[in-house]
Amino acid sequence: MQVPILKQGGVLIATIQAALSDADLLELRTALVQQVVRYRSSGVIVDVTAMDVMDSFASRTLLEISHIIRLRGAATVIVGIQPEVAFAMVQLGLTLEDIPTALDLEEGLAYLQQKARSIN
């Protein structure tokens, strides 16, 4: 199952669906990296609003995505983690370390804009 990736200016927005398998996540990682390179994006937003569960594999993969994309000079923001999912994650010990997070797409875009401004 393909995760839809939209391009909005210099930002790529990937919207994850609920029934995301491990293979789908790995596909997403590849697709995002390819597109960051192709479009020279400055930011990536991964919207996990519909994600029912965030387990260690998902969290590891998101960390990988963020690190690879950072090597390309772009920032990643994870948005839309649901309260119940966040709760489960921290109990499992998953904190997404240093990846920026925001409440939703709007906040995520605002964060990226603000970051771009402060760089310039």
Binding site: A19, L20, S21, D22, A23, D52, V53, M54, D55, S56, F57, S59, R60, Q82, P83, E84, V85, F87, A88, M89, Q91, L92, G93, L94
Partner: protein, 134 residues
């Protein structure tokens, strides 16, 4: 008393099925959305281990009743894969997602009320976890 649900795990798609079913049964048993998500997350970890290390196995969801009348859900994740040679190491809590040999078992144990693991190198693994309604 609801009956057991068994999900065969052979691919990563089954991991998704197992956790979705797990969430549904948890809600039916009476757990809140938060608790059901915890249970679904634990199931996701265990089911994935089966796919990664044993190629195939099963996850069984069993609604249970405790001796004091409490209701709960027991999940048995079982496979006849290579087994875990050092169970103690697997349960070592590094408090990071890669603690415990990357199997996520310390985390799963934290999420549930009861945790039992039976495993021997060469003869498979069975993990039994239970969560009770408060």
């Amino acid at each position: 008393m609801a009956s057991d649900t068994q999900i065969l795990i052979t691919s990563d798609k089954d991991v998704v099925t197992a956790r979705q079913q797990g969430r549904a049964v948890a809600l039916q048993t009476g757990f809140s959305m938060s608790e059901a998500t915890l249970i679904a997350t634990a199931i996701s970890e265990l089911a994935r281990n089966i796919v990664s290390y044993a190629n195939q196995g099963s996850v069984t969801l069993k609604p249970v009743h405790g001796s004091n009348g409490a209701s709960g859900l027991t999940i048995v994740a079982s496979d006849s894969g290579p087994g875990i040679a050092d169970v103690t190491l697997a349960l070592r809590d590094g408090y990071s997602s890669s603690g415990g040999l990357g199997l996520g078992l310390p985390g799963v144990r934290r999420l549930m009320d009861e945790f039992d693991i039976a495993s021997r190198a060469g003869s498979g693994t069975t993990i039994t976890i239970t969560k009770w309604l408060p």
